[in-house]
Subunit: 152 residues, 2 copies
């Protein structure tokens, strides 16, 4: 399979990656390391919180988005990293036992002005659950190598 | 120590949390699970990338911000979670062996209009390295319980 470059992504392109099963064990393990709030660690304690039961840390959700992006296309691309995230919204609790998928939509592409070997691709990501409901959204720009160098 | 509520945070307040040592082992372990790109997994492979050497995944950086927020104040607060992140920027590679600190600045506070028991507090977070340089920034709103319910 040829490696994906900046030229291979066009505004409006949509891809869906996954599914991936999210287990109780990984929710608790992530929380213990990075977000040890009771609502992410313990079912009984979580029931008394605004989440109404154990749910993954938002940072776990976002890290799972990253992993699904990586498996979905980044590891097969001329990726040059990413400078950050424009916005990220955690919309619905991610519960143990959920099968998640990731929908990636290309919003915008442009060549880099300063680096003719690179292009920028802005994506909107949506994590979907079993019921096709949106668990989280993220907008972020990927830096991708170009197959053909642009004019400087 | 009394639990922190929405009333305890005022615009302009600054706190610094940490330090915390970031090890090569944890950088590689996080990457293997969530962001298995060579620049986060292997020193030799990383040298050939735009990072110029092994550095933590941005998502690891962000998850460490969360953990330092948690230890710094959230676990001792009437936290009601957070809806997401307004922006996040990864500015400088986070290398193995770095001692990080987290600077949290209160930007804005407002009571919730719909929930008199809750307030919103917008923070700007900066992760600092040994040289006091900014590794990453994040702007996010925390939902915090109020000590005294507001007028509905």
């Amino acid at each position: 399979m040829p490696k994906l470059h900046w030229e291979d992504f066009k505004p409006g392109d949509v891809a869906v990656y996954g599914p991936r099963l999210v287990t109780r064990e990984e929710i608790v393990a992530f929380a213990a390391e990075f977000d040890p709030q009771p609502m992410h660690l313990d079912e009984a304690a979580a029931r008394a919180t605004q989440l109404g039961g154990l749910a993954a840390s938002g940072w776990h959700v976002s890290s799972l988005v990253m992993r699904m992006m990586a498996d979905g296309f980044i590891l097969n691309s001329a990726s040059m990293g990413g400078p950050g995230v424009d916005e990220m919204n955690w919309l619905k609790p991610l519960r143990p036992g959920t099968q998640i998928r990731l929908r990636a939509t290309v919003m915008e592409t442009r060549p880099s002005k300063s680096r003719p070997e690179m292009g920028l691709t802005k994506f909107r990501y949506e994590m979907l659950d079993d019921a096709d409901e949106v668990v989280a959204t993220m907008v972020a720009t990927a830096l991708l190598g170009r197959r053909e160098k642009g004019a400087s």
